[in-house]
C-alpha cells in the first residue's frame, strides 16, 4: 500500500510540476524576485543620491577682501587630509572695509548654504542651526587655523597594519549571513506556499478534486502537490542562481560577499535546502488544509490571511531570536516547529556544530508528517460536502421546539 501511495504522489507531483513549469504563471514566478530587487535598487539609488546630496553640504563664507579665498584654499588642504569629509566652502561675498553682512538674513534668504562663516580668519564666526554648529565648529576652526598658517604645514605619514578580521567583526558578519539566509528562506517559502494554495483552488474550481479524492489517498495527493512545488522551486532557484551568476559575469563586477557561515558554504547551502524544504512543507500543508476549507479564491484570500500573518510573526520571532543568543527566546525559536527552520539556518551561520541540525531536521520532519496527515484529514472532511443546505426554517423550528 505504501508503494501505491508513493506512486499516487508521484503521479500528482509529475502532473503538477509539468503543468506549472509550462504555464504562464511560472514566468511570473521566475520574474517575481526581480520586482523586489528592482524596487530595492531604485530605492537604494534614490536614497544614495539623497544621502550624497545631504552629505555634501556647503558653507558660505563672507569675509573681508581675500580672506574668504584663503579659507577656501585652507579647506581644500584639510579635506585632502581628512579624505574629503569636509564641507565645501563657497565665498558668498568679499566684504569691503567696514561693510556689514548679516549672516542670519543671508541664511534665511535661500543662498543654498547650510551655514555661513563671517568674521576673520583669526576670529571666525559660524552662523547656523545648533546641529550644524555642533557638527562643524571644530572643522571650521581647523580650516581657519590652516588659513592663518597656524596649523602644521605637513602631516606625518602614518604606517598602517591591517588585520583580516576581528572576532567581533566576524560575528557581526555571520549575523548578516544568518539574516540573509532567513530572509531568502522566508521569501521563497511564502512565494511557493501561495502557489500551492492557488493550485489547489484551481483544482477545486475545475471539479477534478473529487476524481483525485476517489482515486488516491488524500495524503498522497497532499504529498504529491507539495513535492511538485518543491521541484518547481528548485527550478526557480536554479534559474535565479544562474541569472545572478550571469549578471555578475557580464557586469564584470564582484558579487556582494557575505561572510562565510560557521559550517562552511557547502554545508550551509545543503542545510539551507533542507530547512527550506521543511519550512515550505510545513507552511504548504497548512495552506493546503486552508484550501480545503475554501471554495472560492476570495475565501482563500480571507482564510490564508491569518496563516500569512502567522508566518510573518514566526519570521520576526526567528529574527528577534537571532539577536538574543543563549536566551530562552533562541531556544524557543529553534523548538517551535514553524520557526525552527529559520532559527536553525541562522544557527548554521553562527555555529559549526552539526549534531543539532540532525535533531532539528528530524523534529521538523515529524511535524511535517503530522501536518500533512492533519491537513489531509481536515481537507477530506471539509472538501466533499454535498446535499442540500439545511433549511433555515427547519433549524428555527427545531430551536423553537427545544
Amino acid at each position: 500500500m505504501l508503494s501505491h501511495r508513493l506512486h499516487a504522489a508521484w503521479v500528482v507531483a509529475r502532473r503538477d510540476f509539468v503543468a506549472v513549469i509550462f504555464s504562464k504563471a511560472f514566468i511570473f514566478f521566475l520574474l517575481g524576485p526581480l520586482f523586489p530587487v528592482i524596487v530595492g535598487m531604485m530605492a537604494g539609488s534614490i536614497g544614495a543620491t539623497v544621502q550624497r546630496d545631504l552629505d555634501r553640504p556647503v558653507i558660505g563664507v563672507a569675509m573681508p577682501a581675500h580672506e574668504g579665498d584663503l579659507m577656501v584654499v585652507a579647506r581644500d588642504a584639510v579635506a585632502r587630509q581628512l579624505d574629503g569629509r569636509v564641507p565645501e566652502l563657497v565665498v558668498l561675498k568679499r566684504l569691503r572695509d567696514g561693510e556689514a553682512f548679516d549672516a542670519r538674513v543671508a541664511l534665511g534668504s535661500g543662498q543654498g548654504v547650510a551655514a555661513i562663516i563671517t568674521g576673520t580668519r583669526a576670529a571666525p564666526v559660524l552662523t547656523g542651526t545648533p546641529e550644524r554648529i555642533d557638527q562643524w565648529q571644530g572643522i571650521v576652526g581647523l580650516i581657519a587655523a590652516r588659513a592663518v598658517e597656524k596649523a602644521p604645514q605637513g602631516y606625518p605619514i602614518v604606517q598602517v597594519a591591517e588585520v583580516k578580521t576581528s572576532v567581533a567583526k566576524q560575528r557581526n558578519e555571520q549575523v548578516l549571513t544568518a539574516q540573509a539566509g532567513q530572509v531568502l528562506l522566508f521569501l521563497l517559502t511564502m512565494l511557493l506556499a501561495g502557489m500551492v494554495l492557488s493550485n489547489l483552488v484551481e483544482e477545486k474550481a475545475n471539479k477534478i478534486i473529487e476524481v483525485l479524492a476517489a482515486s488516491i489517498p488524500m495524503d498522497a495527493l497532499f504529498l504529491g502537490k507539495l513535492f511538485a512545488m518543491l521541484a518547481v522551486s528548485m527550478v526557480g532557484i536554479a534559474v535565479w542562481g544562474s541569472g545572478y551568476g550571469l549578471l555578475v559575469l557580464v557586469g564584470q563586477k564582484s558579487a556582494p560577499l557575505l561572510a562565510a557561515p560557521a559550517v562552511g558554504w557547502p554545508m550551509f547551502l545543503a542545510l539551507g535546502f533542507a530547512y527550506f524544504a521543511m519550512a515550505y512543507l510545513l507552511l504548504g500543508s497548512m495552506f493546503l488544509a486552508i484550501g480545503g476549507l475554501a471554495t472560492t479564491v476570495r475565501e482563500v484570500q480571507t482564510l490564508s490571511m491569518p496563516a500569512t500573518m502567522l508566518q510573518l510573526i514566526v519570521f520576526f520571532f526567528a529574527s528577534y531570536a537571532l539577536a538574543r543568543p543563549g536566551t530562552w527566546i533562541e531556544t524557543a525559536s529553534r523548538v517551535f516547529p514553524v520557526s525552527s527552520p529559520y532559527a536553525m539556518l541562522a544557527s548554521a551561520a553562527q555555529s559549526s556544530a552539526l549534531a543539532p541540525h540532525l535533531v532539528a531536521l528530524a523534529w521538523q520532519a515529524l511535524w511535517v508528517g503530522l501536518m500533512v496527515r492533519f491537513g489531509s484529514q481536515l481537507f477530506r472532511r471539509t472538501v466533499m460536502k454535498s446535499g442540500p443546505a439545511r433549511p433555515r426554517k427547519a433549524k428555527r423550528r427545531k430551536a423553537v421546539a427545544a
Binding site: 500500500m1 501505491h4 506512486h7 499516487a8 503521479v11 502532473r15 503543468a19 504555464s23 475545475n206 471539479k207 477534478i208 478534486i209 473529487e210 476524481v211 483525485l212 479524492a213 476517489a214 482515486s215 488516491i216 489517498p217 477530506r380 472532511r381 466533499m384 460536502k385 454535498s386 446535499g387 442540500p388 443546505a389 439545511r390
Partner: protein, 331 residues
C-alpha cells in the same frame, strides 16, 4: 469465503440471500453535515455484474451515498464493504468513478487526460497514453485526441472523462448522474456502453433522478428520498409492490358480474379500471363469465417504476423528482 469477525467480515466476498456475490454491501450508512443528516441508515447490496440504479430526487443523498461507498468520505455510522474490502480506498484501482460534477485539467490534451486518470489508478503513463488514443479512436473521438480539454465541447469533455473512468478496466464502475448534460444521441451511446460493461462482468452502479433510465437499464434499484432508502432490490420487486391494474371492456352494462369487480373499480368511457384482486385473475375471469359480462377485452398492466416510486417514496419525493426540468424533458 467469508471470515466473520464479530458482526462484520474482514476478507472475502459477501453474498446476498440468493447466493450471489456482492460487489458492494452497505449497512446502516449515516452521514451528517453540520448537524444535518444527509444520509440516514442506508442499506444497499449490489450483486456483482449487476446494473444498479440509485434513484431519487436532487438532494436525496445519492451523491453522499456514492461518496461513502467510494471512501471519499467516511460514514458517521454503519459499514460498507466494496469488492471484498472494508476500506474502499484499498481497492480504488479496481474502481472507476465519474462524479456528477465533471472535471478535467483544461490545459491537458484529451489522450493525456485519459492517461492521467489511468495513472491515478496504477496504469503506467505510457500504457495509459496508448489506451487513451485507442479508446478515443474506438469512440469516434480520435480526431480530438491532441486537442486540449478547454477546446472540446462540454459533451465531448464528458465523454473523455467517461473513457478515463473506464481506461483501467475496472471491476466496479460508479457513475453519478451520468446522463445529465448529454444529448439524446450520447445518452443512447452511454446506455449501450453500460450494458456492454455489465455483459463483460463489470458491476455498474449509477445514480439518477430519471426514472426512465433506471427502469430501462437496471436489474436492481435503491429508491432514496430524504436520505433514507425505503426500497432496495430488483426493479420487478419494486413494481410488484403495486397490484397490477386491470382494464376491462364488456358488452353488458350491468348484471350479476358487477359483483365480481373490486371496490376501487371506476368506469371511464367504455372501460372499467381496477386493481387486480389479490385472489388473482382466474377467479375474476370465472366470475365475469358466469355473471354474463360479455368480455370484449381484458388487459392486465403491471405497475411502472414511476408508480412504484410514488407508492414507495411518497408523493412528495415523486413531485421533487418530476420538478427537475431535465426529467420533464426526457419523460
Amino acid at each position: 469465503m467469508k471470515i466473520e469477525l464479530g458482526t462484520w467480515a474482514v476478507e472475502g466476498n459477501e453474498v446476498d440471500a440468493a447466493g450471489r456475490e456482492l460487489a458492494i454491501e452497505a449497512r446502516g450508512l449515516v452521514k451528517r453535515f453540520d448537524g444535518f443528516t444527509a444520509v440516514d441508515g442506508v442499506d444497499i447490496s449490489v450483486p456483482r455484474g449487476a446494473i444498479y440504479g440509485i434513484l431519487g430526487p436532487n438532494g436525496a443523498g445519492k451523491t453522499t451515498t456514492l461518496r461513502m461507498l467510494l471512501g471519499i468520505i467516511d460514514p458517521d455510522e454503519g459499514h460498507r464493504r466494496v469488492l471484498g474490502h472494508d476500506r474502499p480506498t484499498d481497492v480504488a484501482r479496481r474502481i472507476g468513478y465519474l462524479p456528477e460534477e465533471r472535471g478535467l485539467y483544461p490545459a491537458m490534451k484529451a489522450y493525456e487526460a485519459i492517461a492521467f486518470l489511468a495513472a491515478l489508478r496504477g496504469v503506467p503513463l505510457k500504457e495509459g497514453r496508448r489506451r487513451g488514443r485507442e479508446l478515443l479512436e474506438e469512440n469516434g473521438l480520435g480526431y480530438a485526441a491532441d486537442r486540449q480539454i478547454r477546446q472540446l465541447s462540454k459533451g465531448m469533455a464528458q465523454q473523455v472523462q467517461l473513457l478515463g473512468t473506464l481506461v483501467h478496466k475496472p471491476d466496479l464502475v460508479v457513475l453519478d448522474e451520468p446522463f445529465s448534460g448529454l444529448d439524446a444521441l450520447n445518452q443512447g451511446k452511454l446506455e449501450r456502453l453500460i450494458r456492454q460493461l455489465a455483459a463483460d462482468g463489470t458491476t455498474v452502479i449509477f445514480s439518477t433522478h430519471v426514472i426512465a433510465h433506471a427502469e430501462r437499464m437496471c436489474n436492481q434499484v435503491a429508491i432514496i428520498a430524504g436520505g433514507k432508502v425505503p426500497f432496495a432490490g430488483p426493479v420487478d420487486v419494486a413494481r410488484d409492490r403495486l397490484r397490477p391494474q386491470v382494464r376491462l371492456e364488456t358488452r353488458a352494462q350491468d348484471g350479476p358480474w358487477r359483483a365480481a369487480l373490486p371496490a376501487d373499480a371506476r368506469h371511464e368511457g367504455a372501460f372499467w379500471h381496477f386493481t387486480l384482486p389479490e385472489s388473482g385473475v382466474e377467479p375474476l375471469l370465472r366470475a365475469l363469465i358466469e355473471g354474463d359480462a360479455g368480455i370484449l377485452s381484458l388487459s392486465i398492466e403491471r405497475a411502472g417504476l414511476h408508480d412504484a416510486f410514488v407508492a414507495i417514496a411518497g408523493e412528495a419525493a415523486a413531485r421533487a423528482l418530476e420538478a427537475n426540468p431535465e426529467e420533464e424533458g426526457r419523460r
